[in-house]
């Protein structure tokens, strides 16, 4: 699946997109996998209360299942309007 990052999450990780070919069961499993990659991932995902997640372009919780998901995005709380 594609994993996208926006705003300061993208800046902290250093690029806008990763490809993940393992099959994490939930968003939280994906987060753990990313955290283990490098320090900058661990830093970006250190405080989940500061993050929001969308699965296939729909806002979800961190315990949401990922079976069949094609795109997961992580970003800070939105500031539109």
């Amino acid at each position: 699946m594609d994993v996208l990052y926006f705003a300061w999450v993208r800046e902290r990780i250093g690029h806008p997109k990763d490809r993940v070919d393992s099959a994490p069961a939930t968003v939280m499993d994906l987060v753990e996998e990313l955290r283990a990659r490098e320090d900058r991932y661990a830093a970006a995902f250190s405080d989940l209360s500061a993050l929001r997640v969308a699965v296939d372009q729909e806002l979800r919780d961190f315990d949401a299942p990922l079976s069949g998901a094609r795109e997961v995005a992580f970003f800070p709380p939105m500031t539109g309007g």
Partner: protein, 146 residues
């Protein structure tokens, strides 16, 4: 429903006139326009990032939800992204209804949801550097009234 996400500037007056002109039997038209403020007196630019494949979908869901809650004949959501200058218009919404109360409430609802549920992120650029605008608790709290 007219949902537009664009980098280009828009003309509030032309949009408001076009929106009002295409209404039939609607007695009330409400518009809201958001403008880049230079709070500290040193703002160089406001950069707006968004999540292209999600943005229109999220805006359409918000507009559909408004249409299911209030009797509105039409709604417009127009939101810019990219690099904006102080005093530039960031976005606008418009609603039309037979009744002023529905038009006002639907517009406020659209704005409250746009603030916290549409995938836009603002970054303020000053000479001293650039900072992402933090979400405000009161914007999140505003959702609880609907």
């Amino acid at each position: 429903m007219d949902i537009r996400v664009q980098e280009a500037p828009f003309d509030l007056g032309a949009e408001a006139n076009a929106f009002a002109a295409r209404q039939v039997g609607m007695g009330a038209v409400v518009t809201f326009t958001g403008i880049v403020r230079d709070l500290g007196g040193d703002l160089t630019a406001m950069e707006i990032e968004h999540y292209p494949s999600m943005t229109e979908k999220a805006l359409r869901a918000i507009a559909d939800e408004a249409a299911s809650r209030w009797q509105i004949g039409d709604a417009l959501i127009l939101h810019r992204h990219g690099r904006l200058a102080p005093d530039d218009m960031i976005m606008m919404v418009a609603t039309a209804s037979r009744h002023r109360s529905d038009a006002f409430q639907a517009a406020e609802f659209l704005m409250d949801y746009l603030k916290s549920r549409a995938p836009f992120w603002k970054k303020e650029v000053t000479e001293a550097g650039a900072d992402w605008v933090a979400a405000r608790d009161e914007d999140e709290d505003a959702l609880s009234r609907w």
